[in-house]
């Protein structure tokens, strides 16, 4: 028996040593965007994090079928995990096992940057230029996908604008108007609460919606560079811009801006509160246009809904037409499996995609097509789309795509505590400064 155990232990150790030696290995040249050779059709996979029945997936399925007609044997296997945290875990585990498929979704996170540095992703800048598509893209859509050093490794499939949607009737009832400055928001919440109205509906369960708010004040006060410095430890929450956002978040909490018990309420809970006329404001992007700006919206509130873009502040360094305008999670191309087939399919699909996508009523990441406004749209739909024509050069980057994952997780947790008044702004500042100090160096060496 003892002997058997010993044998098992040795076997285990040997297996460990072997797995430790494995991994890594053959990566191709990420800059070689036009591989030569014969196109041999096969099945390729795209690991993605998009709604299962959404426009992107439906269109890409159709384009893959069209491509397969001329290339028998080709198939595009779409593996989607819409829940973002689960998706990220899946992606990171597959990356660790060196088993990433031909195409995979990722934001411009520090983790993705490490993959790019290791040469595991094809240079999208070069790829799009070689396909003569680069100039079609909205600069903002590409910028959203770029890493801090300006390099581009992901291709956008969407273009969205985030607005603060509001209910005119409720604001009127409370005697408040659209805030001119971010600093007006807490007082506005107090007035709305006095009138018995929930000021802002927020999805607290998914954490990113609350994290959006922490990005606003620094973006106005110090511009888009602040978070880039903050995440590396070159700036801190003790700086003027940092303190401004910490204090502002605490004020939002004190003024009871968000619905009671928001931290355990989900995406649809929040949206329902707004569309049922209980909450006065709701911060969400143009991906919700089909439910907020068409006749699908509750008739009781339909005529009262409008939106405003991110308010500025006094002395803001960014303009009113610069706010959160993400191009969604991007698609990266695995350099290891990049061959004439993948290249040829991408050329085929990326050329045809924008027209198909714009026809669904969504904003294309390119400027060469016109978005079709659906027949059941309210006038707000057109207004939202037109906002995209007049955007500044800078954009607010969501912090969850910027910070290292540990600091990001801690920030999401501490923000809830700060807004609920469970910790003071001073405690928040020192906890977050420590978290960055401890975790950032590992990711931004």
């Amino acid at each position: 028996m003892k002997k058997l155990l010993r044998v098992a232990a040795v076997a285990a150790a040997a297996a460990l040593a072997l797995t430790a030696c494995g991994g890594g290995g053959n990566t191709a040249d990420p800059a070689n965007v036009s591989p030569t050779g014969e196109i041999k059709p096969r099945e390729i996979s795209w690991l993605l994090s998009r709604p299962a029945d959404g426009a992107v997936i439906n269109i890409m399925k159709k384009l893959a079928d069209d491509y397969a007609k001329d290339h028998p044997g080709f198939a595009l296997n779409l593996i989607t995990t819409p829940d973002r945290p689960s998706y990220i875990q899946k992606l990171e585990t597959l990356a660790a096992a060196n088993k990433l498929p031909e195409l995979f979704d990722t934001d411009a996170t520090p983790f993705a940057q490490q993959l790019a540095k290791q040469g595991k992703m094809v240079d999208a800048d070069k790829l799009l230029k070689s396909l003569n598509l680069y100039d079609n893209y909205r600069p903002g859509a590409l910028d959203y996908q770029r890493f801090d050093d300006g390099s581009l490794y992901m291709i956008p499939f969407q273009f969205e604008l985030e607005f603060m949607w509001y209910n005119k009737a409720l604001l009127e009832k409370a005697g408040v108007s659209v805030p001119k400055s971010l600093d007006d928001v807490p007082a506005m919440c107090t007035a709305l609460r006095k009138a018995g109205i929930t000021p802002i509906a927020i999805d607290g369960q998914d954490q990113w919606p609350l994290e959006r708010y922490v990005a606003y004040q620094p973006f106005r006060e110090a511009g888009p560079d602040f978070v880039q410095k903050l995440k590396k430890g070159e700036a801190s929450f003790s700086d003027a811009a940092g303190q401004k956002t910490v204090k502002w978040m605490a004020e939002l909490g004190k003024a009871n801006c968000f619905q009671d018990g928001f931290s355990s309420q989900g995406y649809s809970d929040a949206q329902n509160q707004f569309t049922s006329g209980q909450a006065a404001m709701y911060n969400i992007g143009t991906w919700e246009l089909p439910s907020l700006a068409t006749d699908k919206l509750n008739p009781a509130v339909r005529d009262n809904i409008d939106f405003f873009t991110l308010p500025t502040t006094e002395g803001a360094v960014t303009a009113a037409n610069e706010f959160v305008s993400p191009s969604g999670i991007g698609m990266a191309v695995n350099s290891k499996t990049y061959d004439p087939l993948v290249s040829d399919f991408l050329k085929f699909a990326l050329e045809k995609y924008p027209a198909e996508y714009a026809a669904t009523g969504a904003l294309s990441p390119t400027t060469d097509v016109q978005t079709a406004i659906p027949a059941n749209a309210t006038p707000l739909y057109k207004k939202a789309l037109e906002t995209a024509n007049d955007l500044g050069d800078k954009q607010t980057m969501p912090w969850d795509t910027q910070l290292d994952p540990t600091t990001n997780g801690r920030l999401q947790q501490e923000l809830v505590l700060l807004v609920q008044g469970d910790i003071t702004p001073e405690q928040f500042t020192s906890t977050m400064n420590d978290a960055i100090k401890q975790n950032a160096p590992k990711f931004f060496k």
């Binding site: 058997l4 098992a8 232990a9 285990a12 150790a13 297996a15 460990l16 430790a20 890594g24 945290p85 990220i88 875990q89 990171e92 585990t93 990356a95 660790a96 983790f111 490490q114 993959l115 290791q118 595991k120 929930t198 607290g204 369960q205 954490q207 619905q259 009671d260 018990g261 928001f262 931290s263 355990s264 309420q265 509160q273 290292d404 994952p405 540990t406 997780g409 801690r410 947790q413 501490e414 809830v416 505590l417 609920q420 469970d422 910790i423 975790n439 590992k442």
Partner: protein, 293 residues
């Protein structure tokens, strides 16, 4: 005793499950132990850091200690609900003449419902906006001042996520204890009653000593399950608000799969293994000493 030949055959039959056990349990534990000495994010080169992860865990990580104490409180609440509740219900059941089967089934029902369904169910029960069952009940009985967002309040959230786990398995342990209780010889009990023993004496002197072996097993089962509790807290609050309902297991999971700090997550998992072993050792030691005295 088995003759020699059949002992060999028994060993031969025991071998496959043993190998399976080694591959599925021992190997991952050893692998975690190995990984816990490294700094590794899954895609970088593994860097040997010696005991650094352990030093960080024990001296420099406030979230780790917070989750450790949360896990202990979570365990305590689960144990009280599961074992205490199970013992009370099982004892009452034995004195029931009719409808035992129905009640047993009803109590066991939560154990067969999927965890995700239970988590969603309780999120609704605890909700304040729209008003959930718990707050509604409090309102009806005139305790409106206790109404709150149970899952958003840092003082109540841990108890709120422990209760569903406790509630869920009460029926299962009740069944085990009930089976042990009905196996207590009737003549022993009758003799004691004739000697004038009260219900309480009957329970403490006859019934409980008789079911002690089963009690030990259920305590060990409930403790190890409690220490490994993960799904309900993770699904209901994801450890929040802040770290108020973060358990060692959820923290380990996040460290591994969100922070991609596989080395440090392995260190935490090694701690969980040791913690489980210590807990089981303590239970055996305490109950043995009690039995001896």
């Amino acid at each position: 005793m088995l003759p020699n030949r059949s002992r060999t055959s028994v060993l031969v039959f025991l071998l496959p499950p043993l190998l399976l056990y080694c591959a599925a349990v021992l190997f991952p534990i050893l692998q975690s132990l190995f990984l816990s000495f490294f700094s590794w994010n899954g895609i970088s080169d593994m860097e040997f850091v010696g005991l650094q992860n352990y030093v960080r865990m024990l001296t420099a990580d406030d979230v780790f200690w917070r989750s450790f104490f949360n896990a202990l409180l979570y365990l305590a609440i689960c144990l009280v609900l599961q074992l205490g509740g199970a013992l009370v219900v099982a004892s009452l059941l034995t004195s029931l003449r009719r409808g035992r089967e129905l009640i047993k089934t009803l109590y066991l029902l939560p154990a067969v419902i999927s965890t995700v369904a239970i988590a969603f169910l309780f999120v609704r029960i605890y909700s304040i906006d729209p008003v959930g069952l718990l707050n509604q009940l409090l309102h009806w009985v005139g305790l409106g001042s206790f109404e709150r967002a149970w899952l958003s309040d840092v003082n109540t959230v841990l108890a709120a996520v422990s209760a569903p786990e406790g509630w869920r398995f009460t029926g299962l342990y009740m069944l085990i204890i009930y089976a042990a209780l009905i196996a207590v010889p009737k003549e022993l009990e009758e003799a004691a009653v004739l000697d004038g023993a009260s219900k309480w004496t009957l329970f403490t002197k006859i019934r409980f000593p008789y079911i002690r072996p089963v009690w030990i097993t259920t305590t060990i089962m409930a403790t190890t399950y409690g220490l490994r509790g993960f799904d309900i807290p993770y699904l209901m609050t994801n450890g929040g608000p802040g770290q108020s309902s973060e358990l060692l297991t959820t923290y380990m999971y996040k460290t591994a799969f969100t922070s991609t700090d596989f080395g440090y997550a392995s260190t935490i998992s090694v701690f969980i293994v040791i913690e489980c072993l210590v807990a089981v050792g303590l239970i055996l030691f305490m109950l043995k000493r009690k039995a001896d005295s």
